[in-house]
Subunit: 218 residues, 2 copies
Amino acid sequence: MDEQSQRNFSAEEKQLLEEILAHRRDVRGNRFLKTPISQEAIDTIIEAALAAPSVGFSQPWEFVIIRNQKTKQAVKQTFSEETARAASQFADEKQQEYIRLKLEGILESPINMAVFYKPKEGPVLGQTSMPNMGKYSVVCAIQNMWLMARSLNIGMGWVSILDPEKVKQVLKAPKENQLIGYLCFGYTDMFYNQPELELKKWDRKKLQEEVVIEEKYK
Amino acid sequence: MDEQSQRNFSAEEKQLLEEILAHRRDVRGNRFLKTPISQEAIDTIIEAALAAPSVGFSQPWEFVIIRNQKTKQAVKQTFSEETARAASQFADEKQQEYIRLKLEGILESPINMAVFYKPKEGPVLGQTSMPNMGKYSVVCAIQNMWLMARSLNIGMGWVSILDPEKVKQVLKAPKENQLIGYLCFGYTDMFYNQPELELKKWDRKKLQEEVVIEEKYK
């Protein structure tokens, strides 16, 4: 077998990746359509996850595909509890704004997916000094799926206002599994041109000069 | 301003993304060339990071660009200490294999980059129930950079066999910053067709059927 890849990408191909990155959005229930997602599209999205880097090639991921409305309702229940608890942490104006935002699309999206980190027994190459590396591998897989979904014109939303232990209970997940992301997938009526929280002026986009440091901190 | 993006990606465009995902590799020092990387390419890679999703649009990232060989040598020192400590954790054959592997390219790559998570004061939308979400946002930015670098035909390696506190000392990083990834960027003599650890039979690639669960665990 030829071990070498001679694939060189062109400037136009690089530009297309820039476009996919720029048009990827976090999609919530106000934008999802009921249009079903084909099994082929789901498989393509999962293949993208399996192409992600993982520390020591450990591939420490599991993906639970949820279609049943009852399962979704049970997950939505923990969202409702956690978001009520969260709102009270924001002060004044921000609290009013928080309450007005639609922050998930659990029931509106045809496919939900719980993504777990499954720790391996014994040492993992590359994870001996930074124990979070396995979880970070799972996040890389999620980002690959996000981009692949967008290139299929499918929206994805990442819901994090959940009690991970309650989601595990609903899905009967093994004790050692750790929930990394709870994702909603669906076609959309449109994608926003900018992050929704930027459009709604929740916060502004940072510039390179604010976050890039040359060589060392002063 | 038009809030809507009507960008629909075609099947050919989706296929190109699949190719970029498939040809992305973790690159180590045995493959890096000394060829300099232009400032334009570095800026393009950082722009890709800034297009990543972040919890509550918090953009909790900082990127330190390292070019000085002395800084790299100080980081290499913590790699050497940590990898010696790590090797002893693997049993017998795996230990011999571990020692033979080249696991970083700190000195060989023209650009190193330390990527930090910088916690925000006060509550972050979406991070109130899952406190790791800010760190996961930084990982999404790293994965975006990895893909962008590959589309520029630049290799990236993620070095995790480091003491994060020692890297912070070397870079005089603020106390609250947390090291998420230490990255090496450089042109390469070639990219492998498969993950190096798969080629070297350290482990085998998992199949969809091994990691996909329908609806709930049994």
